[in-house]
């Protein structure tokens, strides 16, 4: 069991590092490809114009929301890092611990929050007018599978809760 846990921990670390490096690379490309346009626009923008009715709001919102998408991807990676905590608990033979139940719920919450937030941000990007948004097309995207995955983690948390009760009952059966 310990060997399997070590292999899983190794794989999880690999996936986490790969996800972080992809995120950092995307952020670097974002800065080079898009931020330049933003800087150019900022130089020529009318500073006296009100933020809500001008190009200011649109440009600022676009870049804020684009940056927000990176933040949420980081949040997803943070959620994924809970797998390491679960594996650590399993390594210590605390299979049905309170911590594991808590971690499964957190992973579920983060997966669902990420998907809903990204859908909202993509809708806002479309509303600003810099991209297109079709709800059903977005639902077909790979990342929306994180909603059933999140729900599956909630179910796992419930199963582990029941497992913990059964373990306690077993320990108190003489």
């Amino acid at each position: 069991m310990k060997d399997n846990t070590n292999i899983l921990t190794f794989i999880t670390w690999g996936i986490l590092l790969a996800a972080v490096s992809v995120l950092l690379n995307d952020m670097r490309e974002f800065e080079f490809n898009k931020f330049e346009n933003f800087v150019n626009w900022a130089k020529t923008a009318d500073k006296d114009a009100p933020w809500y009715s001008s190009q200011n709001a649109i440009e600022w919102s676009y870049y804020a929301i684009s940056a927000g998408l990176f933040f949420w991807r980081g949040y997803l990676i943070y959620g994924f890092s809970y797998f390491l905590s679960i594996l650590k608990e399993i390594e210590n033979e605390n299979y049905f611990s309170d911590n594991n139940i808590k971690y499964f719920k957190k992973i579920g919450t983060i997966f669902i929050q990420y998907t809903i937030s990204v859908l909202i941000l993509r809708f806002l990007l479309a509303a600003i007018g810099e991209s297109t948004f079709n709800f059903f097309t977005e639902l077909k995207a790979e990342f929306t599978f994180l909603i059933p995955a999140g729900l599956a983690f909630y179910i796992l948390a419930e199963i582990f809760k029941r497992g913990k009760q059964a373990e306690e009952d077993n320990e108190l059966t003489i």
Partner: protein, 68 residues
Amino acid sequence: MPIIVNLDVMLAKRKMKSNELADIVGITTANLSILKTGKAKAIRFSTLEAICKALECQPADILEYTEV
């Protein structure tokens, strides 16, 4: 819990110590303590049988039901 474990009474009657009983029955003293203090949620028939055999008594001598 309305089930009371009178193991202490039977141990006193037989002049036997807890650790002696635990050794005979084949359970740890910690588990015997759980049983004596009423924290146990269940008792296996095999354990009950071993306790009855060791103390030469009936299950009713050890377990008692009282209305809460």
